[in-house]
C-alpha cells in the first residue's frame, strides 16, 4: 500500500503499542505482551547459531500457545559480539551471553514462565552481589553513545513498521514537505558532519558541490564496500537498521536533485544484502521509493550493486568503475565525482555510517547534533573493536573520547593478563599506536597527527605476543594483493616493501633495509594515484616510529622479541615440565626426547617450529624464545 504523508505517524503509533516492553524510544508499560525475548541475528551471533536459538524459543512458545503474551524479536547487532550469541529478556533487560540452543529451554521455563532470571546464564559482568544489571547499564554499554547505531538491537530490521515506530522516515517527510533542497544542505553543512568512511571530508560541502552541478541526470551512491580487515561497522548498521540508510539516500537525492541511487555492497555480507533487499522492497511497496514519494513531487529509485572482492573498490572512483561494470580501477582526481562520476554525471558518494547520521541531523537539527563530539569533529564514531581485547564488538563513542577509554573502559582491557602493546586504527591505511599515545582523543585530526588515521573504524588491539614487524608485513601483504596495478609506485613499491619486510621477518634483514623501506614508503605516499597507494606505507612508517626496537632486534640480533617470526624463534622446555610425554607424542618430526615423569628436551636442529608442543602442554612448560 502506498503511504500518504499522514500515514507515517499512524503506523508508528500503532506499532509502538506492541513494542512497549523494549524500553525505547519511550517506556510504554501497557501493551499486549508480558515478556519480550530479543535475539541478536547479526552475522556474529547467527554464525554461532542464534537462528536455531530463535527457532527453539518460537517452538517452545508455540507449544504452550503463549504467542500472545511473549514476543520473540530478531534484531541486528547489540555490539558485544564477544558475548554472542546474545539474548535479552524484557522487561528488565536481562542480558544472557554465550547462549546455547539448549539454554533456550531453561530461559523459557525459568525466566519467561517462572519469572526468575537464570543467573548462571547471565553475562558475568551484569551479575552483582545485590542484583542484576540490565544490558543498558553494563560497563560496555554505559560508556557509549549510540547515534548511527540508535536502532540496532532494538528493532526488527525486516519490519519497516518498527523503523517507523522509532521515528523512521519522519525526517524524510519533514524534508519533502517543509524544507527546500538548499535548506537541507545548509542543515547538513551546519551539523559539521564529516565523512565517516575515513576521509573526514565535510559532508555538507560534498552535497553542495554535487547540487551545484546542472542536472537532470545525477546519482546518489552509498559506499558499503567495507573492505578493511577487522571492520564491521557498516555491515552491522545495514544488518540492524537498513531503512536508515535508505531514508538518508532519498533525502540526499532530494537535496542534490538526483532521482536514482545505488548501494554498492560487498558480496561477502550475505545477511546485509538480504536485509537491504527486503528493506528496499518494503520501501517501494510503501511508496517511500518510486514515483511521487509520500504524495510529493519527488521521485527516487534505489538499486543494489554487489562488489566481488576487491579492496580498492572502496576508493570512490574505483567504486564508480565497478558499478559501471568495469575493472575496479581508480582514476586521477579531479574531476571529482561531484562533477563527473557515474557515467560521467555528477555523483554524490557517502559511506553507510555517514548516511546513518543524516535522518538524526534533519530530525533534531544541526545544533543538537553538534552537542556531541568535538568542535572540528562533531558527532560520534562507530568502531569495530577486535583482536586481543576482552569485549570484542561494535562500539559507538562521541568524537574526542580517548583511545584509552575505548580500550579499557569499554573494551575491558587485554585478556589473559597480557600487556597492551598497540592499537591499530584505519586498517591497511592506518597506523599502529603505542601505549604512550593512548590518551589521544579520537577525532580525524588528532589521529592523523600521530601518524594513523580514523579510517573506516576498525580498531585492532595487539598485546605483547604480537610482533609489530610481522603486523607491518601482514598489512603490506594485504595491500600488495589488493593493489590494482594501475600505477607504478603502488604496484612495484608495495611489492618491494613486502620483500624487505619478509626478509626481516625471515632473519635475513640488513641494516640498510630500514632506509630502503623509508625511501620506498615516501615514494609510494607521494606518487601513488589513489589513497590505497598513498596510505599503503602507513603501517610500516608508524611501526618504524614506535617500535623501532623490534625492527632492530630482528635485523641486528636476529631475534623476534614477541616470538612470532618462525625463523627467529626456538622452543624450549622449562623446569615446569612434568614429563607427561604429550609433547613428544604429538611432535610431527619426533624431535622431543625424554622419559616419563622427567623433563623433556627439544632437539632444536630437527625442530620445525610448528608450536604443537606448546599447544598441547598441560602445564605451559614449553616456551618460545
Amino acid at each position: 500500500m502506498k503511504l500518504a504523508r499522514t500515514d507515517l505517524k499512524a503506523i508508528a503509533e500503532k506499532t509502538i503499542e506492541y513494542m512497549h516492553l523494549r524500553g525505547l524510544p519511550e517506556d510504554h508499560p501497557e501493551g499486549p505482551y508480558k515478556k519480550a525475548v530479543i535475539i541478536c541475528r547479526g552475522t556474529g551471533c547467527t554464525s554461532s547459531q542464534s537462528d536455531k536459538i530463535m527457532e527453539r524459543f518460537q517452538t517452545l512458545i508455540a507449544a504452550d500457545k503463549n504467542e500472545s503474551s511473549i514476543e520473540v524479536v530478531r534484531t541486528g547487532c547489540f555490539g558485544l559480539c564477544e558475548a554472542g550469541p546474545v539474548v535479552i529478556v524484557h522487561p528488565g533487560g536481562t542480558f544472557y551471553s554465550h547462549v546455547k540452543v539448549d539454554d533456550a529451554d531453561i530461559i523459557y521455563r525459568e525466566h519467561l514462565i517462572g519469572d526468575q532470571p537464570v543467573k548462571k546464564l547471565i553475562y558475568p559482568d551484569a551479575v552483582l552481589e545485590d542484583g542484576i544489571l540490565p544490558y543498558s547499564e553494563v560497563p560496555f554499554t554505559m560508556n557509549q553513545k549510540r547515534v548511527a547505531l540508535r536502532n540496532c538491537g532494538h528493532i526488527d530490521p525486516e519490519r519497516i513498521e518498527e523503523y517507523l515506530a522509532h521515528g523512521g522516515y519522519q525526517a524524510l517527510e519533514k524534508v519533502l514537505f517543509d524544507m527546500t533542497p538548499e535548506a537541507v544542505i545548509a542543515e547538513v553543512t551546519a551539523s559539521g558532519l564529516r565523512g565517516l568512511g575515513g576521509g573526514g571530508f565535510p559532508t555538507g560541502r560534498k552535497w553542495q558541490f554535487t547540487a551545484a552541478n546542472p542536472g537532470p541526470e545525477k546519482y546518489v551512491v552509498c559506499n558499503a564496500d567495507e573492505g578493511d580487515p577487522g571492520a564491521f561497522m557498516d555491515r552491522s548498521i545495514l544488518e540492524g537498521d537498513p531503512h536508515t540508510v535508505i531514508e538518508a539516500m532519498i533525502i540526499a537525492g532530494y537535496a542534490i536533485g538526483a532521482a536514482q541511487g545505488f548501494i554498492y555492497i560487498r558480496a561477502e555480507y550475505p545477511i546485509a544484502v538480504q536485509r537491504l533487499e527486503i528493506a528496499i522492497r518494503q520501501a517501494e511497496d510503501a511508496g517511500l521509493l518510486g514515483d511521487r514519494i509520500l504524495g510529493s513531487d519527488f521521485s527516487f529509485r534505489l538499486e543494489l550493486r554487489l562488489g566481488a572482492g576487491a579492496f580498492v573498490c572502496g576508493e570512490e572512483t574505483a567504486l564508480i568503475a565497478s558499478i559501471e561494470g568495469n575493472r575496479g580501477m581508480p582514476r586521477n582526481k579531479p574531476p571529482f565525482p561531484a562533477n563527473s562520476g557515474l557515467w560521467g554525471k555528477p555523483t554524490l558518494i557517502n559511506n553507510v555510517e555517514t548516511y546513518a547520521n543524516i535522518p538524526v541531523i534533519l530530525m533534531n537539527g544541526a545544533a543538537s547534533f553538534r552537542q556531541t563530539g568535538t568542535e572540528k569533529s562533531p558527532g560520534t564514531k562507530v568502531f569495530a573493536l577486535g583482536g586481543k581485547i576482552k569485549n570484542v564488538g561494535l562500539v559507538e563513542v562521541p568524537m574526542g573520547t580517548t583511545l584509552r577509554q575505548v580500550v579499557y573502559d569499554i573494551g575491558g582491557g587485554i585478556p589473559n593478563g597480557k600487556a597492551f602493546k598497540a592499537v591499530q586504527t584505519g586498517g591497511p591505511s592506518g597506523g599502529c599506536i603505542g601505549a604512550e599515545k593512548l590518551d589521544t582523543p579520537i577525532d580525524f585530526d588528532s589521529l592523523k597527527a600521530i601518524g594513523s588515521m580514523m579510517g573506516s573504524g576498525g580498531m585492532i588491539v595487539m598485546d605483547e605476543d604480537n610482533c609489530m614487524v610481522d603486523v607491518a608485513r601482514f598489512y603490506m601483504d594485504f595491500i600488495t594483493d589488493e593493489s590494482c596495478g594501475k600505477c607504478t609506485p603502488c604496484r612495484e613499491g608495495t611489492k618491494r616493501m613486502l620483500e624487505i619486510l619478509e626478509r626481516i621477518c625471515d632473519g635475513k634483514g640488513e641494516k640498510s633495509d630500514i632506509d630502503r623501506l623509508e625511501s620506498l614508503a615516501v615514494t609510494a605516499q607521494q606518487a601513488s594515484l589513489c589513497a590505497l597507494g598513498q596510505t599503503a606505507a602507513n603501517p610500516v612508517l608508524s611501526t618504524l616510529k614506535t617500535f623501532r626496537d623490534e625492527y632492530d632486534a630482528h635485523i641486528n640480533e636476529k631475534r623476534c622479541p614477541a616470538g612470532v617470526c618462525t625463523s627467529l624463534i626456538s622452543f624450549f622446555i622449562t623446569d615446569a615440565c612434568i614429563g607427561c610425554t604429550k609433547c613428544a607424542r604429538n611432535c610431527p618430526v619426533s624431535c622431543i626426547a625424554g622419559t616419563v615423569k622427567e623433563r623433556h628436551v627439544i632437539d632444536r636442529d630437527a625442530c620445525i617450529r610448528c608450536g604443537i608442543c606448546q599447544d598441547v602442554c598441560p602445564v605451559n612448560a614449553v616456551i618460545r624464545k
Binding site: S48, C81, E82, E226, R305, L306, G386, G387
Partner: protein
C-alpha cells in the same frame, strides 16, 4: 586439473541463465550482475559462458575476461566441492589464523587458492568475513566455525576428509 565445460551437462542451469541475461539485456552497467549469477550457477565462469554474456550484453569477451580476473570472487576454474576458507582479516590474524592455514596446507597438500586433485577441497585465504567477535574464523562452504583452535581444526579436517572421500568415490563411479 583441466576441466572442460560441457553445455549438455548444464542444460537447465543454462536456460535459467539465459533468462537472466534476457532480463539484463540493454541495461547499462549490468556485467557484474551477470558474472555473479554465472559464478553462483556454474561454480566458475568458463569461456562458453563468457561468450553467452558477450553476445547478450554486447561486450567483448576480452573485456569480460578482464573483469573476471580483476575480482577475487570470480573464478575461471571450478572450485572444490568443499571450500575451506580461513579468514586472514586482522582480528583473526592476530589471533593466529595463519597457523591454521599452515596446518590445513600440510593436511591437504594444497596452498591457498588451489584445489585438491580429486576436486574435493579448495583452500582459500579469505578476506575479513566480519565475524571478528569469533576470531579466528574458518568457513566450510556456508558454515562458519568460530574461535577455532588447532586441535579442533585437526578434528574438523579429519571429519571433512572422510565425508568428501566418500563423496569423491561416488562421483568416480
Amino acid at each position: 586439473m583441466a576441466v572442460t565445460f560441457d553445455p549438455n551437462e548444464h542444460k537447465e542451469a543454462l536456460s535459467e541463465f539465459a533468462a537472466t541475461l534476457d532480463r539484463l539485456r540493454g541495461r547499462r552497467g549490468v556485467l557484474m550482475q551477470a558474472l555473479h549469477e554465472a559464478q553462483s550457477r556454474f561454480g566458475h565462469i568458463p569461456p562458453y559462458v563468457q561468450e553467452l554474456i558477450s553476445d547478450a550484453l554486447d561486450i567483448p569477451v576480452s573485456m569480460i575476461y578482464g573483469v573476471i580476473t580483476f575480482y577475487a570472487r570470480f573464478t575461471l576454474e571450478p572450485t572444490g566441492r568443499c571450500e575451506i576458507g580461513v579468514c586472514l582479516g586482522t582480528a583473526c590474524y592476530v589471533k593466529g589464523s595463519a597457523r591454521l592455514i599452515e596446518d590445513i596446507e600440510k593436511a591437504l597438500g594444497i596452498k591457498p587458492g588451489q584445489t585438491t586433485e580429486d576436486g574435493s577441497f579448495t583452500l582459500t585465504a579469505t578476506r575479513c568475513v566480519g565475524a571478528c567477535g569469533l576470531a579466528p574464523v574458518v568457513t566450510v562452504n556456508q558454515d562458519v566455525h568460530g574461535r577455532m583452535k588447532r586441535e579442533e581444526m585437526k578434528k574438523l579436517l579429519a571429519f571433512l576428509k572422510k565425508e568428501y572421500a566418500d563423496m569423491a568415490a561416488e562421483v568416480a563411479q
